[in-house]
Symmetry: C2
Subunit: 722 residues, 2 copies
């Protein structure tokens, strides 16, 4: 179809604008990309997998926003299956497979099968259970999911209501849902896909059994499922077949289905499941660490006590879950944020609106041109600190990745020492970093004005999907309590032992504070020559974190205030502590040889990012820095002016800095964020050529019930769907 619109060009040529932006900065982008994304050959793998996917029509993203939610699941399942076939056809390894999921960019109905389902069996199943299940799992002959959360309980695992009652005569467990709120809920892949589930249920043994109840449950003696004849032993994991292999219908006594539409995750079948006294064999209970004795019917626990009583498994599970959000495992929050920032920076460079009020000609422009909106400080203050944040999150991710792998080696040698610190850092960073990214996506969207609200932004799905992150796998407001508890414990130890030296960075932070607080004056982030003192910035963040930890210690340990009354303060402490990690780690990275060896001006541009991130954070939480005497009043007075100055330094490199994140256009799926700057051409193409709604003609006469012109069914098709 051709028409008169074919010959029209936009008034300003976006391609020329981005070209000018790119040639005005001498940053070496290939080198910077490699520096940022070399782990596991990310860039090479991205290119290789992208080449395959973009040839497959099924992975075309054009019509995704026009599909209904049931269709989105259909498509999600079709793609999940197709990726399995591609894995075989292309001989992809596991990293390639993960890259395909990343580029496909939607939650796969198979996602839990190859993550929580397989991991739980591997870690908690006995050797015999592993031998029996693994081949079927790895061949996808069965599809698994992980059924922990319930309608009534998400965060509180001890509160789970599903019961697994041991019948010593039949040698079976009876899985049962005593209340409606016992329904499993939210579990990914369970709604329509899975044939099997790991079911987390409260183990109940008949009273005659001789083992002691678990310590965790003795704190909780009046659970409703405790009948006089049974004793609760806390949550255990069971592998249960939930659907018939052939008919794919639910097994007898099981009600299971999809919970319905959500904010995002349209392609994923998050499920519900209730059990009506479902019998499973003894072998269903994963028994690496605990098993019901054949002889006595008692619970036999084996292994290290920390493992046996579940707390270690729980903490390790949490660390792995949180690490996913803050390290280069799978959900790299900085790459997610980088997508939003890429779109915003490119579009705001191409977009021009209004001439300068004082008649000053804009950069790279003819005098009559309107101003690039990226040149407005009101746009910069929203986007550029987030651009800086992508690097802050990245360097901390790399740091945590290394910490995780070091600690894992130590732990596997039987030393559980590093666990608490790792748990605290990963929980705090999960909370802070997913909040920064989730809020950042929406901030970028709004900074793009009207077109930011359109589907051509490419952020509709990203935004909706990512909004789950601040809640899932540890609510961002809840898990900070664990960080604060750790810091209060550490402070208590340090207070009792201020003088002695330490290797632990958190103890060092706290002791520096305890030793220095009597005669403290806040350092200035301005050096004598007016330049920014990067180390002083780090000191300011360290001091705030330590001062808030000490205040929490005083309130809780010395003044014995109720925990609940301190919760907001503890949340703020956790964020302050996590911000200190982000700032310190970024500062350290700047001095590392991997940064200093980059060609000019990359190291100094990264330094500008560091400064903007730190100064902007200072400004956002200024009163918290002031109240802890971390920053001086005179520094605060010049803060906003310094931020403007630093943004001015970063601005010329903005387009190239987002280029460095190497997000392919195919993944961005954004008219506004196209690499080539053809924003308006693409927006128009989507509307004029690709919008299915424009293929229907409607009847707008209100006297008729018919909606489509000439359909003659009086809207009956539509009514039937309601």
């Amino acid at each position: 179809m051709t028409d008169f619109t074919d010959n029209l060009k936009p008034r300003y040529d976006g391609a020329a604008i981005l070209e000018a932006e790119r040639s005005a900065s001498v940053l070496g982008i290939d080198e910077l990309s490699k520096h940022l994304l070399s782990r596991d050959d990310f860039l090479g793998r991205q290119e290789k997998v992208l080449k395959v996917l973009r040839k497959e029509k099924l992975f075309n993203k054009d019509q995704q926003l026009n599909l209904s939610r049931p269709e989105r699941y259909h498509l999600g399942l079709a793609r999940a299956k197709a990726i399995r076939r591609l894995v075989r056809r292309e001989a992809w390894d596991h990293e390639d497979y993960k890259m395909a999921e990343y580029l496909n960019d939607e939650m796969s109905p198979f996602h839990l099968h190859m993550t929580m389902f397989v991991t739980t069996i591997r870690e908690q199943g006995s050797p015999a259970q592993n031998k029996s299940w693994m081949p079927r799992i790895l061949d996808y002959d069965i599809i698994g999911c992980y059924a922990q959360s319930e309608l009534g309980h998400g965060s509180n695992v001890k509160g789970l209501e599903t019961e697994a009652r041991w019948d010593p005569v039949a040698q079976e467990f009876e899985i049962h849902s005593p209340h409606l709120t016992a329904s499993k809920w939210w579990n990914g892949g369970m709604g329509r896909t899975a044939t099997h589930a790991i079911v987390v249920a409260q183990l109940l043994l008949p009273k005659s059994s001789t083992a002691q109840p678990s310590t965790t449950d003795s704190e909780n003696p009046s659970r409703s499922h405790t009948t006089s004849e049974y004793v609760p032993y806390g949550p255990q994991t069971f592998i249960v077949q939930i659907r018939d292999k052939k008919s794919h219908q639910p097994m007898q006594g099981i009600a299971v289905g999809d919970i319905g539409p959500k904010y995002g995750y349209a392609s994923m079948d998050n499920g519900y499941m209730l059990f009506d006294r479902v019998r499973v064999p003894k072998s269903a209970m994963l028994s690496r660490y605990a098993e019901v004795s054949d002889e006595t019917g008692a619970l036999i626990r084996r292994g290290h006590p920390a493992v046996v009583y579940g707390s270690l498994t729980f903490v390790r599970g949490q660390i792995i879950m949180h690490a996913r959000h803050v390290t280069p495992f799978s959900d790299m929050n900085w790459l997610v944020l980088a997508r939003a920032v890429t779109v915003a920076v490119r579009y705001c460079a191409v977009r021009r609106q209004f001439q300068d009020r004082d008649g000053v000609a804009p950069t790279h422009s003819r005098p009559q041109d309107e101003v690039q909106v990226l040149d407005y400080p009101t746009v910069q203050i929203r986007i550029l600190p987030l651009l800086a944040a992508t690097f802050a999150l990245h360097y901390t991710g790399e740091y945590m990745y290394n910490l995780y792998h070091q600690s894992r080696r130590t732990i596997e040698e039987g030393d559980f020492g590093p666990l608490a610190a790792l748990h605290s850092a990963s929980s705090g960073l999960k909370s802070l970093c997913t909040t920064i990214a989730a809020d950042g996506i929406e901030t970028c969207r709004r900074a793009m004005g009207g077109h930011g609200f359109g589907g051509g932004s490419g952020l509709v799905g990203l935004n909706a999907d990512y909004l789950s992150k601040p809640t899932v796998e540890g609510d961002n407001w809840m898990i900070t309590q664990q960080v604060a508890a750790y810091l209060i414990k550490k402070t208590t130890e340090c207070v009792q032992n201020v003088a002695s030296a330490t290797q632990d960075p958190t103890e060092e932070l706290l002791k520096d504070y305890l030793r220095g607080r009597a005669q403290h004056t806040p350092p200035s982030f301005l050096a004598a020559d007016g330049s920014i003192d990067d180390d002083a910035l780090v000191q300011i963040f360290r001091w705030r974190a330590a001062a808030l930890a000490y205040a929490a210690y005083q309130a809780r340990v010395e003044e014995k205030k109720p925990w609940t009354s301190l919760m907001i303060q503890l949340h703020n402490l956790s964020h302050a502590y996590s911000y200190h990690i982000l700032v310190s780690t970024f500062r350290t990275a700047l001095s590392s040889s991997s940064v200093t060896s980059l060609s000019n001006p990359t190291p100094s541009v990264l330094r500008t990012c560091f400064r903007l991130f730190a100064l902007h954070t200072l400004s956002q939480s200024a009163s918290s820095f002031l109240l802890t005497s971390s920053i001086s009043a005179s520094d605060l007075q010049v803060l906003d002016a310094k931020i403007l100055e630093v943004m001015g330094e970063l601005r010329p490199h903005a387009v190239k800095l987002v280029d460095a994140w190497a997000v392919p256009d195919w993944l961005l799926d954004s008219a506004l964020g196209r690499y080539d700057g053809k924003v308006y051409e693409d927006l128009f193409e989507r509307a004029h050529r690709k919008n299915p709604l424009n293929r229907t003609t409607f009847n707008v006469d209100w006297r008729s019930e018919e909606v489509v012109l000439g359909s003659g069914d009086g809207g009956r098709q539509l009514l039937a769907k309601l």
Copy 2:
């Protein structure tokens, strides 16, 4: 269909919990509802219209989230037509009709027809044009839209690219789109619905014409559409038929369609439109204020100069648009926010999670019960300040409504004096209040944890739709510049004339500051007896607004800094000024007889809301208050503790306070926010009975391309849609 799930009950009875909440507070809810919602008999009208709508299957909201975007437009059009039929059948007046739109809760494809389309013709059309068009419009024989924004220009009306070139020989205008970016874009109802459009285009007259070019355009001499033979006269409005009445196909030379899916507004056909030298008669130009002369071919302007040169019309238009967001016209931001807060308060009261860490029994609970999450300060700090904000926004809305009607009378008598103040207040409040509401909806959602991400929250559509508000009808970051410009002008006047008395509240604010600043010490919001001093709170907000206005005056007028470099500062000034209006107006309302005459404890509970709103705002922007010496350092130290205290006072009334907003369950469409507290029953019903995805059985075997079990089409149906 019955099954074993029918007999299951939730572990905690939500209905009993909300009942206990309601009986624990003695607030008189009916009285408070009437106090809040008496204008135009809101409550009676709501009941009347709701009764009709809920009987019509077409308005059932059950399946909305399961429809595709094209289906959502189909449904939106069917509903828009049905509402017209109901208006006739039920003899509804215009207020009833608006109530039906409010309860239907989606943007109607007819929305622009009865707002911008009809208003523009009424205000800018000549008597003859009105006579000719109005009957057809009011009968909906033609459906209109308003085509101002373009692909390349939204905020900047002067930058619009569509041209209307006068042909003196044919006595016709030629409407033409010279670039792709001239495409009309975003215009509601234009995509598939409208037959006619008001087209805003740059008027071009042949050079021989004798009238002077408009002053606005002389600032902008090199517009691309200025050819040597034509002179630009700035934007004018034209009424253009865009679709054939019978076939509903675009008229010759017009490319028009829907722009495709967006964040929200699925039911609305936001459109694009390009013109290929389309000829329209002379009568197409709306000619109340300007007309091309039959004799000379020159532009004749008539009426008051402010009207003639468009600025007045523009400003008035802006005021009306902004007032919609901040007064009881149509989009009452406090009722939108109240919906989110209603859902969050009720659900967080019903939801219990974790036992208290110190073993303290929760309120209204048995010792073994888990804590209601609304009792956690980390939940309160997110929801209760927003509950308080609904009242702040409401009282300011009422104040602005009265101010608007007073000023309108004055203006209609020919005195344009009040216009600037009204424009400034409504722009500033539009920016601040829609930001508070948009962010507030998401904050409420996140405060609800996992279930907040589900469709049962009832916030999916509300959130997506409302996210447009910070951008549309004046971007929230852009329109604040106008507020700041007004305040700088006012400050300049006041500085030159500090001593004289004034009746103008903004001048009073500024003069109080100018007189007092030499020997100012910030007042304490704590009275001598430790209670909160409400008037001191107002003073603190007044002082900050004035101090920032003065600082902006110094920077711009005295130091002559470039406007662009000040933009962030000016944005902050606008918000500080608007916050002062919210706080002052709320404080004044508390002393009004309409509040003091309410039965106890309502006046004091509203006072608690005022305090929470003010203190929480102080805490959120503490450094801005500190840097302007509006608040003392010692007050800042106790601020967080005071907020906790005030939240504790408000907590027992929270459920009843949201009840007072009287949002019907039918409108909320939320399992979590049901009036009766049956949260879990409703969530389960939606999943188990109402989810269409659960009626399909899928083929999960990855070796097969088929998606639906036994469909046998190898996913071809699905592929065809991609």
